[in-house]
Symmetry: C2
Subunit: 287 residues, 2 copies
Amino acid sequence: MNVIYLNGQFMPKQKASISVLDRGFLFGDGVYEVIPVFCKKPVGLNLHLERLQRSLQAIHIQLPRFTQQSISIFKELILLNHLEDKNFSFYIQITRGVSTERLHEFTLDLTPTVMVCCKSLPQYSNEVLQKGFKAILMPDHRRQECYVKSINLLPNVLAYQKAKEVGAIEAILIKEGYAVEASSSNLFIVKDNTLITPPLSPKILAGVTRQIIIQLAKENHIPVIERNIKENELYDADEIWVTGSSKEICPITRIEGHSINAKKVGPLWYTINQLYQAYKQTEQPLW
Amino acid sequence: MNVIYLNGQFMPKQKASISVLDRGFLFGDGVYEVIPVFCKKPVGLNLHLERLQRSLQAIHIQLPRFTQQSISIFKELILLNHLEDKNFSFYIQITRGVSTERLHEFTLDLTPTVMVCCKSLPQYSNEVLQKGFKAILMPDHRRQECYVKSINLLPNVLAYQKAKEVGAIEAILIKEGYAVEASSSNLFIVKDNTLITPPLSPKILAGVTRQIIIQLAKENHIPVIERNIKENELYDADEIWVTGSSKEICPITRIEGHSINAKKVGPLWYTINQLYQAYKQTEQPLW
């Protein structure tokens, strides 16, 4: 996975460098996507590329042709990195480009910096998944417009780091008494056989895995409610999951010293995870 | 001002590049400072370097020796760029360094990326200053911990850009009905000959210019109150200023279609600005 794409060229990661005046480096002035791929089959490809365009539009970066272009970049990266039969993810980052001077203001004529690389996916064995994970709670210190998948990720990094330090898989973020999502995942709880997840709003990222789970649940007559989740509801939940393109659906069985479902992974996780794994197989391969 | 310092070396700006795996580029995982310099005299040098250490500490980057090291970097940059008798600013950016893979979590053994460059200071003529500036109001979309001077600046960039688009010098940020500061400046208002500025809290940056102004006001028996400022108070203010190391003290005479002090720069601005200009002269030169 050593070859990456940067601004029109394919090159070894070690040689891939950007100017110190790139606005991504100076201001975090850019957006990103992570697309999981299983044996040439990207999961939710169009959903990711559409969200990327929405993120770009929200911060006024024009790159309308990238959606089309990206497919040939993806193919080339798979070939150059010999990933035809591998599972990995594409990491795409687009910044506003290189300024001549470090000034907050920007002009619309900058050429965006485009980077695409491949990265490994976390591998959780069935044993680990069926034991469930620990999560911590952290105040949501992020910016307001979390629906934009921007590289302004310092609060996410610090929350995630805190989780890692205590052996937790995620930090669930609490905003004004409500659990909104986690540092790099969306949040679901199960109560009385109903799936509950916070509704789409600027406060959360419109997760692709979140969307697929909701769709699969509806198709399979599993009740889903999109509503805000109070922090206290977490402790009484029958199940808690954190979901994302890389980590997929991770069941949480311990949260801040409390056991969820007597530390057992709940039945709905098994059902939805099975549906999700099957769904992945139905995706179209890149070629 | 073409020569910059990057990770131990001095080099032309055009050659200064960083890895695409620098966490500053991937996550905005870094902090910065801007120190104005007038003919070798940095303004508030120690205050800036102390704040830099506080920012680094807040995000768990260890670089205790930089404070001492920085002085020789500054001197060398002045000499290499022939800035001995010029006015400019040092821009310092420190990121957590280069990861081997893009993962939120970090280890403490990374070598931070250190960049120092020189940039021009805005030059406002007396005529422009005495006419005053326009400002707009924008919702504060930034992260919670604004006391950390991090490079997670996308909300600041977007607010500032909005201001520039309508010919305003700044976007004053409104949080829960209060004017907290501006996109890259602190905020002062004058009411009944009293200087009012929001108190230090995680919501705002502890501005060096802010601190110097408060000190100068107190020394000169000008009443200063540090308290929250309601959005509505802006329209009734006798004077409004936005302050920062680069823009110094800029009087606002027009805000969202309202005139402040009948569009005239107020008397306290003249007093404090004069004191500030005199204060700059009393700073110690680097050599």
